[in-house]
Symmetry: C2
Subunit: 233 residues, 2 copies
DNA sequence: TCAACCCATATTTTCGAAAATCATACCGTT
DNA sequence: AACGGTATGATTTTCGAAAATATGGGTTGA
Protein backbone atom coordinates (compact mmCIF):
# COMPACT_ATOMS: atom_id res chain seq x y z
CA UNK A 1 0.00 0.00 0.00
CA UNK A 2 1.65 3.23 -1.08
CA UNK A 3 -0.24 5.24 1.46
CA UNK A 4 2.61 7.71 1.88
CA UNK A 5 1.99 8.81 -1.68
CA UNK A 6 -1.70 9.29 -1.06
CA UNK A 7 -1.53 10.88 2.36
CA UNK A 8 1.92 12.11 3.25
CA UNK A 9 1.09 13.79 6.54
CA UNK A 10 0.50 11.53 9.45
CA UNK A 11 3.75 11.60 11.33
CA UNK A 12 2.56 11.36 14.91
CA UNK A 13 -0.28 9.06 15.77
CA UNK A 14 -2.44 7.00 13.55
CA UNK A 15 -5.28 9.41 13.07
CA UNK A 16 -5.17 12.80 11.45
CA UNK A 17 -6.80 14.30 14.50
CA UNK A 18 -4.06 12.98 16.80
CA UNK A 19 -1.47 14.21 14.36
CA UNK A 20 -2.87 17.70 14.23
CA UNK A 21 -3.25 17.77 17.99
CA UNK A 22 0.44 17.06 18.20
CA UNK A 23 1.46 19.65 15.67
CA UNK A 24 -0.76 22.32 17.14
CA UNK A 25 0.58 21.58 20.60
CA UNK A 26 4.13 22.07 19.41
CA UNK A 27 3.34 25.35 17.74
CA UNK A 28 1.52 26.69 20.76
CA UNK A 29 4.30 25.68 23.15
CA UNK A 30 6.88 27.27 20.87
CA UNK A 31 4.76 30.41 20.72
CA UNK A 32 4.69 30.17 16.95
CA UNK A 33 1.03 30.68 17.65
CA UNK A 34 1.18 33.50 20.16
CA UNK A 35 -0.92 33.56 23.35
CA UNK A 36 -4.41 34.89 22.85
CA UNK A 37 -4.27 34.38 19.07
CA UNK A 38 -7.69 33.53 17.68
CA UNK A 39 -7.76 30.09 16.08
CA UNK A 40 -10.15 30.48 13.17
CA UNK A 41 -11.16 27.44 11.24
CA UNK A 42 -10.60 28.98 7.83
CA UNK A 43 -6.99 29.70 8.68
CA UNK A 44 -6.33 26.39 10.37
CA UNK A 45 -7.99 24.56 7.54
CA UNK A 46 -5.56 25.96 5.05
CA UNK A 47 -2.57 25.65 7.37
CA UNK A 48 -3.13 22.01 8.34
CA UNK A 49 -5.17 20.72 5.43
CA UNK A 50 -7.87 19.16 7.54
CA UNK A 51 -11.58 19.60 7.79
CA UNK A 52 -13.63 21.50 10.35
CA UNK A 53 -14.48 18.55 12.48
CA UNK A 54 -11.01 17.10 12.61
CA UNK A 55 -9.62 20.44 13.68
CA UNK A 56 -12.38 20.80 16.20
CA UNK A 57 -11.42 17.50 17.77
CA UNK A 58 -7.78 18.58 18.05
CA UNK A 59 -8.70 21.92 19.58
CA UNK A 60 -11.00 20.25 22.09
CA UNK A 61 -8.19 17.98 23.23
CA UNK A 62 -5.80 20.90 23.61
CA UNK A 63 -8.42 22.84 25.53
CA UNK A 64 -8.50 20.01 28.05
CA UNK A 65 -4.74 20.32 28.37
CA UNK A 66 -4.96 24.02 29.10
CA UNK A 67 -3.13 25.15 25.98
CA UNK A 68 -6.25 26.31 24.17
CA UNK A 69 -9.13 28.38 25.43
CA UNK A 70 -12.54 27.29 24.16
CA UNK A 71 -15.16 30.01 24.11
CA UNK A 72 -18.44 28.32 23.41
CA UNK A 73 -20.08 29.51 20.21
CA UNK A 74 -17.25 31.97 19.74
CA UNK A 75 -14.49 29.68 18.71
CA UNK A 76 -11.09 28.87 20.09
CA UNK A 77 -7.96 30.84 20.79
CA UNK A 78 -4.51 30.08 22.09
CA UNK A 79 -4.69 30.14 25.88
CA UNK A 80 -3.76 33.60 27.11
CA UNK A 81 -0.82 34.06 29.47
CA UNK A 82 -0.74 35.92 32.74
CA UNK A 83 1.51 36.37 35.71
CA UNK A 84 -1.03 34.62 37.90
CA UNK A 85 -1.17 31.63 35.56
CA UNK A 86 2.62 31.38 35.58
CA UNK A 87 2.65 31.40 39.37
CA UNK A 88 -0.01 28.71 39.56
CA UNK A 89 1.72 26.47 37.07
CA UNK A 90 5.00 26.89 38.91
CA UNK A 91 3.47 26.02 42.27
CA UNK A 92 1.68 23.01 40.82
CA UNK A 93 4.85 21.82 39.13
CA UNK A 94 6.83 22.06 42.35
CA UNK A 95 4.18 20.12 44.22
CA UNK A 96 4.03 17.31 41.69
CA UNK A 97 7.66 17.17 40.64
CA UNK A 98 8.89 17.02 44.23
CA UNK A 99 6.64 14.07 44.91
CA UNK A 100 7.75 12.27 41.76
CA UNK A 101 11.44 12.85 42.36
CA UNK A 102 11.10 11.39 45.83
CA UNK A 103 9.36 8.33 44.49
CA UNK A 104 11.84 7.86 41.70
CA UNK A 105 14.81 8.13 44.03
CA UNK A 106 13.22 5.57 46.30
CA UNK A 107 12.24 3.14 43.56
CA UNK A 108 14.73 3.76 40.78
CA UNK A 109 16.82 0.80 39.64
CA UNK A 110 19.97 0.54 37.55
CA UNK A 111 18.17 1.35 34.34
CA UNK A 112 16.82 4.51 35.90
CA UNK A 113 20.30 5.65 36.93
CA UNK A 114 21.59 4.94 33.45
CA UNK A 115 18.74 6.92 31.90
CA UNK A 116 19.38 9.90 34.15
CA UNK A 117 23.10 9.88 33.50
CA UNK A 118 22.87 9.36 29.76
CA UNK A 119 20.17 11.97 29.16
CA UNK A 120 22.21 14.50 31.11
CA UNK A 121 25.28 13.57 29.12
CA UNK A 122 23.49 14.19 25.86
CA UNK A 123 22.17 17.50 27.15
CA UNK A 124 25.66 18.65 28.09
CA UNK A 125 27.08 17.60 24.75
CA UNK A 126 24.54 19.71 22.95
CA UNK A 127 25.25 22.67 25.19
CA UNK A 128 28.99 22.39 24.58
CA UNK A 129 28.68 21.92 20.88
CA UNK A 130 26.46 24.91 20.45
CA UNK A 131 26.63 27.59 23.12
CA UNK A 132 23.84 29.57 21.55
CA UNK A 133 20.62 30.34 23.29
CA UNK A 134 19.39 26.84 24.17
CA UNK A 135 15.69 27.38 23.80
CA UNK A 136 16.13 28.22 20.16
CA UNK A 137 17.75 24.87 19.52
CA UNK A 138 15.14 22.15 19.01
CA UNK A 139 17.64 19.46 19.92
CA UNK A 140 18.40 21.11 23.24
CA UNK A 141 14.70 21.36 23.97
CA UNK A 142 14.21 17.66 23.39
CA UNK A 143 17.27 16.67 25.38
CA UNK A 144 16.28 18.96 28.24
CA UNK A 145 12.83 17.52 28.32
CA UNK A 146 14.16 13.99 28.25
CA UNK A 147 16.53 14.60 31.14
CA UNK A 148 13.77 15.91 33.38
CA UNK A 149 11.54 13.10 32.19
CA UNK A 150 14.19 10.54 33.07
CA UNK A 151 14.52 11.93 36.59
CA UNK A 152 10.91 11.14 37.43
CA UNK A 153 10.49 8.12 35.20
CA UNK A 154 10.85 5.58 38.02
CA UNK A 155 8.06 7.05 40.13
CA UNK A 156 5.65 4.27 39.28
CA UNK A 157 2.49 6.33 38.88
CA UNK A 158 1.21 7.04 35.41
CA UNK A 159 -1.53 9.31 36.71
CA UNK A 160 0.84 11.84 38.25
CA UNK A 161 3.22 11.53 35.32
CA UNK A 162 0.44 12.57 32.96
CA UNK A 163 -0.35 15.58 35.12
CA UNK A 164 3.33 16.44 35.26
CA UNK A 165 3.62 16.26 31.48
CA UNK A 166 0.77 18.70 31.03
CA UNK A 167 2.26 21.16 33.48
CA UNK A 168 5.67 20.82 31.86
CA UNK A 169 4.21 21.75 28.48
CA UNK A 170 2.41 24.75 29.85
CA UNK A 171 5.57 25.90 31.62
CA UNK A 172 7.66 25.42 28.53
CA UNK A 173 5.41 27.81 26.67
CA UNK A 174 6.28 30.50 29.18
CA UNK A 175 9.97 29.75 28.80
CA UNK A 176 9.64 30.30 25.07
CA UNK A 177 7.75 33.48 25.72
CA UNK A 178 10.74 35.00 27.46
CA UNK A 179 13.45 33.32 25.38
CA UNK A 180 13.59 36.15 22.88
CA UNK A 181 14.13 38.74 25.58
CA UNK A 182 16.35 36.93 28.02
CA UNK A 183 19.87 38.30 27.53
CA UNK A 184 21.76 35.10 28.29
CA UNK A 185 20.79 31.83 29.87
CA UNK A 186 21.88 31.33 33.44
CA UNK A 187 24.02 28.37 34.39
CA UNK A 188 21.60 25.56 33.84
CA UNK A 189 24.31 23.04 33.14
CA UNK A 190 25.59 23.26 36.69
CA UNK A 191 22.11 22.94 38.14
CA UNK A 192 21.32 19.88 36.07
CA UNK A 193 24.60 18.29 37.05
CA UNK A 194 23.89 18.87 40.75
CA UNK A 195 20.38 17.47 40.45
CA UNK A 196 21.67 14.37 38.72
CA UNK A 197 24.28 13.77 41.40
CA UNK A 198 21.80 14.21 44.24
CA UNK A 199 19.40 11.81 42.55
CA UNK A 200 21.96 9.12 41.80
CA UNK A 201 23.37 9.30 45.31
CA UNK A 202 19.80 8.90 46.58
CA UNK A 203 19.88 12.12 48.50
CA UNK A 204 16.17 12.83 48.18
CA UNK A 205 16.03 15.93 50.36
CA UNK A 206 18.81 17.60 48.43
CA UNK A 207 17.42 16.61 45.05
CA UNK A 208 14.01 17.94 46.00
CA UNK A 209 15.48 21.21 47.15
CA UNK A 210 17.52 21.60 43.99
CA UNK A 211 14.57 20.83 41.76
CA UNK A 212 12.36 23.33 43.52
CA UNK A 213 15.01 26.01 43.18
CA UNK A 214 15.51 25.06 39.54
CA UNK A 215 11.83 25.35 38.72
CA UNK A 216 11.24 28.53 40.66
CA UNK A 217 14.28 30.39 39.43
CA UNK A 218 13.36 29.57 35.85
CA UNK A 219 9.89 30.92 36.46
CA UNK A 220 11.32 34.04 38.08
CA UNK A 221 13.45 34.58 35.02
CA UNK A 222 10.44 34.29 32.80
CA UNK A 223 8.47 36.68 34.95
CA UNK A 224 11.29 39.19 34.78
CA UNK A 225 12.11 39.13 31.10
CA UNK A 226 8.60 38.58 29.79
CA UNK A 227 7.07 41.07 32.19
CA UNK A 228 5.84 43.28 29.36
CA UNK A 229 3.95 40.31 27.93
CA UNK A 230 2.40 39.22 31.20
CA UNK A 231 0.88 42.42 32.52
CA UNK A 232 -0.80 43.87 29.46
CA UNK A 233 -3.60 41.40 29.03
CA UNK B 1 -37.22 32.49 19.26
CA UNK B 2 -38.85 29.34 20.60
CA UNK B 3 -35.65 27.35 20.41
CA UNK B 4 -36.71 25.05 23.21
CA UNK B 5 -39.36 23.70 20.90
CA UNK B 6 -36.91 23.10 18.12
CA UNK B 7 -34.02 21.70 20.13
CA UNK B 8 -35.07 20.61 23.58
CA UNK B 9 -31.75 19.08 24.69
CA UNK B 10 -29.05 21.51 25.57
CA UNK B 11 -29.18 21.67 29.33
CA UNK B 12 -25.49 22.07 30.15
CA UNK B 13 -23.37 24.33 28.05
CA UNK B 14 -24.18 26.19 24.93
CA UNK B 15 -23.02 23.65 22.40
CA UNK B 16 -24.35 20.17 21.87
CA UNK B 17 -20.84 18.79 22.16
CA UNK B 18 -20.38 20.32 25.60
CA UNK B 19 -23.78 19.05 26.61
CA UNK B 20 -23.03 15.51 25.57
CA UNK B 21 -19.63 15.66 27.21
CA UNK B 22 -21.40 16.51 30.44
CA UNK B 23 -24.01 13.80 30.13
CA UNK B 24 -21.51 11.15 29.16
CA UNK B 25 -19.29 12.15 32.08
CA UNK B 26 -22.17 11.71 34.50
CA UNK B 27 -23.04 8.30 33.16
CA UNK B 28 -19.48 7.09 33.27
CA UNK B 29 -18.95 8.33 36.81
CA UNK B 30 -22.18 6.70 37.92
CA UNK B 31 -21.09 3.47 36.22
CA UNK B 32 -24.27 3.51 34.17
CA UNK B 33 -21.74 2.91 31.45
CA UNK B 34 -19.59 0.25 33.08
CA UNK B 35 -15.77 0.31 32.95
CA UNK B 36 -14.32 -1.17 29.79
CA UNK B 37 -17.62 -0.88 27.90
CA UNK B 38 -17.02 -0.23 24.22
CA UNK B 39 -18.48 3.10 23.13
CA UNK B 40 -19.69 2.46 19.60
CA UNK B 41 -20.90 5.33 17.54
CA UNK B 42 -24.03 3.61 16.34
CA UNK B 43 -25.18 3.07 19.89
CA UNK B 44 -24.20 6.51 21.12
CA UNK B 45 -25.79 8.10 18.12
CA UNK B 46 -29.13 6.63 18.98
CA UNK B 47 -28.75 7.19 22.71
CA UNK B 48 -27.75 10.84 22.54
CA UNK B 49 -29.19 11.88 19.21
CA UNK B 50 -26.03 13.48 17.90
CA UNK B 51 -23.85 12.93 14.89
CA UNK B 52 -20.54 11.10 14.62
CA UNK B 53 -18.36 14.16 14.84
CA UNK B 54 -20.14 15.74 17.75
CA UNK B 55 -19.85 12.51 19.70
CA UNK B 56 -16.24 12.23 18.71
CA UNK B 57 -15.52 15.63 20.15
CA UNK B 58 -17.16 14.70 23.44
CA UNK B 59 -15.25 11.43 23.67
CA UNK B 60 -11.98 13.17 22.93
CA UNK B 61 -12.57 15.60 25.77
CA UNK B 62 -13.41 12.78 28.17
CA UNK B 63 -10.33 10.87 27.07
CA UNK B 64 -8.23 13.84 28.15
CA UNK B 65 -9.94 13.67 31.54
CA UNK B 66 -9.08 10.02 31.96
CA UNK B 67 -12.66 8.78 31.93
CA UNK B 68 -12.52 7.40 28.41
CA UNK B 69 -9.87 5.32 26.75
CA UNK B 70 -9.18 6.23 23.12
CA UNK B 71 -7.76 3.42 21.04
CA UNK B 72 -6.66 4.94 17.79
CA UNK B 73 -8.44 3.51 14.78
CA UNK B 74 -10.29 1.14 17.07
CA UNK B 75 -12.69 3.48 18.75
CA UNK B 76 -13.35 4.45 22.32
CA UNK B 77 -14.35 2.64 25.46
CA UNK B 78 -15.08 3.58 29.02
CA UNK B 79 -11.76 3.74 30.86
CA UNK B 80 -11.09 0.39 32.51
CA UNK B 81 -10.60 0.14 36.26
CA UNK B 82 -7.81 -1.51 38.15
CA UNK B 83 -6.44 -1.71 41.64
CA UNK B 84 -3.31 0.10 40.50
CA UNK B 85 -5.33 2.93 38.99
CA UNK B 86 -7.30 3.30 42.21
CA UNK B 87 -4.09 3.50 44.23
CA UNK B 88 -2.63 6.10 41.89
CA UNK B 89 -5.73 8.26 41.93
CA UNK B 90 -5.86 8.05 45.70
CA UNK B 91 -2.23 9.08 46.12
CA UNK B 92 -2.62 11.92 43.65
CA UNK B 93 -5.75 13.12 45.40
CA UNK B 94 -4.05 13.14 48.78
CA UNK B 95 -1.12 15.10 47.39
CA UNK B 96 -3.30 17.75 45.78
CA UNK B 97 -6.10 17.95 48.31
CA UNK B 98 -3.69 18.34 51.22
CA UNK B 99 -2.03 21.27 49.48
CA UNK B 100 -5.35 22.91 48.67
CA UNK B 101 -6.76 22.48 52.16
CA UNK B 102 -3.68 24.14 53.62
CA UNK B 103 -4.02 27.05 51.24
CA UNK B 104 -7.71 27.43 51.86
CA UNK B 105 -7.26 27.40 55.63
CA UNK B 106 -4.60 30.03 55.31
CA UNK B 107 -6.49 32.26 52.91
CA UNK B 108 -10.14 31.56 53.60
CA UNK B 109 -12.30 34.52 54.61
CA UNK B 110 -15.74 34.76 56.19
CA UNK B 111 -17.49 33.70 53.02
CA UNK B 112 -15.36 30.59 52.88
CA UNK B 113 -16.27 29.65 56.45
CA UNK B 114 -19.91 30.18 55.68
CA UNK B 115 -19.68 28.03 52.57
CA UNK B 116 -18.00 25.20 54.47
CA UNK B 117 -20.52 25.31 57.30
CA UNK B 118 -23.58 25.60 55.11
CA UNK B 119 -22.60 22.88 52.65
CA UNK B 120 -21.91 20.52 55.55
CA UNK B 121 -25.25 21.44 57.08
CA UNK B 122 -27.08 20.56 53.90
CA UNK B 123 -25.18 17.31 53.64
CA UNK B 124 -26.16 16.32 57.17
CA UNK B 125 -29.78 17.22 56.58
CA UNK B 126 -29.91 14.94 53.59
CA UNK B 127 -28.28 12.13 55.53
CA UNK B 128 -30.77 12.51 58.38
CA UNK B 129 -33.79 12.72 56.16
CA UNK B 130 -32.90 9.66 54.22
CA UNK B 131 -30.61 7.13 55.91
CA UNK B 132 -30.42 4.99 52.84
CA UNK B 133 -27.23 4.24 51.03
CA UNK B 134 -25.95 7.72 50.27
CA UNK B 135 -24.31 7.06 46.94
CA UNK B 136 -27.62 6.02 45.46
CA UNK B 137 -29.12 9.38 46.33
CA UNK B 138 -28.27 11.98 43.68
CA UNK B 139 -28.90 14.78 46.12
CA UNK B 140 -26.40 13.35 48.59
CA UNK B 141 -23.84 13.04 45.84
CA UNK B 142 -24.20 16.68 44.91
CA UNK B 143 -24.14 17.87 48.50
CA UNK B 144 -21.11 15.72 49.26
CA UNK B 145 -19.27 17.07 46.27
CA UNK B 146 -20.15 20.63 47.19
CA UNK B 147 -18.91 20.24 50.75
CA UNK B 148 -15.53 18.99 49.64
CA UNK B 149 -15.46 21.64 46.96
CA UNK B 150 -16.17 24.34 49.53
CA UNK B 151 -13.32 23.16 51.74
CA UNK B 152 -10.73 23.88 49.04
CA UNK B 153 -12.53 26.76 47.33
CA UNK B 154 -10.39 29.46 48.96
CA UNK B 155 -7.09 28.02 47.80
CA UNK B 156 -6.65 30.67 45.14
CA UNK B 157 -5.27 28.49 42.35
CA UNK B 158 -7.51 27.54 39.49
CA UNK B 159 -4.90 25.24 37.98
CA UNK B 160 -4.73 22.90 40.93
CA UNK B 161 -8.49 23.12 41.41
CA UNK B 162 -9.00 21.85 37.89
CA UNK B 163 -6.67 18.94 38.51
CA UNK B 164 -8.43 18.22 41.76
CA UNK B 165 -11.82 18.18 40.04
CA UNK B 166 -10.62 15.62 37.51
CA UNK B 167 -9.23 13.36 40.20
CA UNK B 168 -12.41 13.73 42.24
CA UNK B 169 -14.49 12.56 39.29
CA UNK B 170 -12.29 9.57 38.66
CA UNK B 171 -12.39 8.62 42.33
CA UNK B 172 -16.14 8.99 42.47
CA UNK B 173 -16.46 6.44 39.73
CA UNK B 174 -14.69 3.94 41.94
CA UNK B 175 -16.98 4.78 44.83
CA UNK B 176 -19.96 4.01 42.64
CA UNK B 177 -18.31 0.82 41.56
CA UNK B 178 -18.36 -0.51 45.10
CA UNK B 179 -21.60 1.12 46.21
CA UNK B 180 -23.70 -1.84 45.20
CA UNK B 181 -21.60 -4.24 47.22
CA UNK B 182 -20.76 -2.21 50.29
CA UNK B 183 -22.97 -3.49 53.13
CA UNK B 184 -23.38 -0.19 54.95
CA UNK B 185 -21.65 3.14 54.74
CA UNK B 186 -19.20 3.89 57.50
CA UNK B 187 -19.62 6.97 59.62
CA UNK B 188 -18.91 9.65 57.10
CA UNK B 189 -21.01 12.20 58.91
CA UNK B 190 -18.64 12.22 61.85
CA UNK B 191 -15.61 12.52 59.62
CA UNK B 192 -17.06 15.42 57.69
CA UNK B 193 -17.98 17.19 60.90
CA UNK B 194 -14.45 16.79 62.27
CA UNK B 195 -12.91 18.06 59.04
CA UNK B 196 -15.17 21.08 59.04
CA UNK B 197 -14.28 21.94 62.64
CA UNK B 198 -10.56 21.57 62.03
CA UNK B 199 -10.82 23.78 58.96
CA UNK B 200 -12.88 26.51 60.60
CA UNK B 201 -10.62 26.59 63.65
CA UNK B 202 -7.69 26.95 61.23
CA UNK B 203 -5.98 23.84 62.49
CA UNK B 204 -4.29 23.00 59.21
CA UNK B 205 -2.27 20.04 60.40
CA UNK B 206 -5.30 18.34 61.89
CA UNK B 207 -7.49 19.09 58.87
CA UNK B 208 -4.85 17.69 56.55
CA UNK B 209 -4.51 14.55 58.59
CA UNK B 210 -8.28 14.04 58.70
CA UNK B 211 -8.65 14.59 54.98
CA UNK B 212 -5.91 12.13 54.17
CA UNK B 213 -7.50 9.51 56.39
CA UNK B 214 -10.89 10.26 54.87
CA UNK B 215 -9.65 9.80 51.33
CA UNK B 216 -7.57 6.73 52.03
CA UNK B 217 -10.16 4.89 54.08
CA UNK B 218 -12.76 5.48 51.38
CA UNK B 219 -10.37 4.05 48.83
CA UNK B 220 -9.65 1.09 51.08
CA UNK B 221 -13.34 0.44 51.32
CA UNK B 222 -13.68 0.49 47.58
CA UNK B 223 -10.73 -1.83 47.16
CA UNK B 224 -12.28 -4.26 49.62
CA UNK B 225 -15.83 -4.39 48.40
CA UNK B 226 -15.13 -4.04 44.70
CA UNK B 227 -12.20 -6.44 44.79
CA UNK B 228 -13.89 -8.84 42.40
CA UNK B 229 -14.22 -6.03 39.87
CA UNK B 230 -10.66 -4.80 40.19
CA UNK B 231 -8.66 -7.95 39.77
CA UNK B 232 -10.34 -9.62 36.83
CA UNK B 233 -9.27 -7.27 34.08
C1' DT C 1 -26.60 62.61 20.12
C1' DC C 2 -27.62 58.29 21.62
C1' DA C 3 -29.62 53.84 22.18
C1' DA C 4 -32.11 50.06 20.33
C1' DC C 5 -33.19 47.30 16.63
C1' DC C 6 -32.69 44.81 12.42
C1' DC C 7 -30.22 43.18 8.55
C1' DA C 8 -26.14 41.34 6.18
C1' DT C 9 -22.00 39.03 6.68
C1' DA C 10 -18.56 36.25 8.99
C1' DT C 11 -17.74 32.34 11.80
C1' DT C 12 -18.72 28.52 14.33
C1' DT C 13 -21.21 24.26 14.97
C1' DT C 14 -23.64 20.23 13.41
C1' DC C 15 -24.91 16.78 10.25
C1' DG C 16 -24.88 12.44 7.35
C1' DA C 17 -22.57 10.58 3.39
C1' DA C 18 -18.22 8.74 1.82
C1' DA C 19 -13.54 7.05 2.55
C1' DA C 20 -10.35 4.58 5.32
C1' DT C 21 -9.36 1.12 8.45
C1' DC C 22 -9.99 -2.93 11.23
C1' DA C 23 -11.89 -7.61 12.36
C1' DT C 24 -13.47 -11.97 10.84
C1' DA C 25 -14.48 -15.76 8.18
C1' DC C 26 -13.42 -18.14 4.20
C1' DC C 27 -10.58 -20.48 0.91
C1' DG C 28 -6.69 -22.65 -1.06
C1' DT C 29 -2.24 -24.52 -0.33
C1' DT C 30 1.15 -27.12 2.08
C1' DA D 1 -4.92 -30.04 10.42
C1' DA D 2 -2.20 -25.78 10.19
C1' DC D 3 -1.02 -21.76 7.96
C1' DG D 4 -1.19 -17.58 5.08
C1' DG D 5 -3.48 -14.71 2.35
C1' DT D 6 -7.75 -12.53 0.80
C1' DA D 7 -12.47 -11.02 0.42
C1' DT D 8 -16.30 -9.31 3.20
C1' DG D 9 -18.74 -6.93 6.60
C1' DA D 10 -18.53 -3.92 10.58
C1' DT D 11 -16.72 0.24 12.55
C1' DT D 12 -14.19 4.18 12.81
C1' DT D 13 -12.52 8.38 10.76
C1' DT D 14 -12.72 12.23 7.63
C1' DC D 15 -14.85 15.44 4.67
C1' DG D 16 -17.47 19.54 2.92
C1' DA D 17 -22.14 21.22 2.71
C1' DA D 18 -25.77 23.14 5.48
C1' DA D 19 -27.68 24.99 9.77
C1' DA D 20 -27.06 27.79 13.78
C1' DT D 21 -25.07 31.50 15.98
C1' DA D 22 -22.32 35.64 16.64
C1' DT D 23 -20.56 40.13 14.86
C1' DG D 24 -20.66 44.62 12.91
C1' DG D 25 -22.83 48.37 10.48
C1' DG D 26 -26.39 51.16 9.39
C1' DT D 27 -30.95 52.96 10.11
C1' DT D 28 -34.66 54.62 12.85
C1' DG D 29 -36.90 56.87 16.56
C1' DA D 30 -36.68 59.42 20.80
Amino acid sequence: MPDSAIRPRKEFGKTIAADITHRLREEIIACALPPGEPLRFDVLRERFGASFTTLREALTALAAEGLVDAQEQRGFRVAPVSRQDLIEITDARVLVEVELIRRSIQRGDDDWEIAVISTLHRLKRIEQRDPEHPLRDPEWKIAHRQFHQALVSACGTATLLAIRAELFDRAERYRHLSANFRPRPRDKAGEHQAIMQAAISRNADLAVQLIETHIRSTADNVATYAAHLLDTE
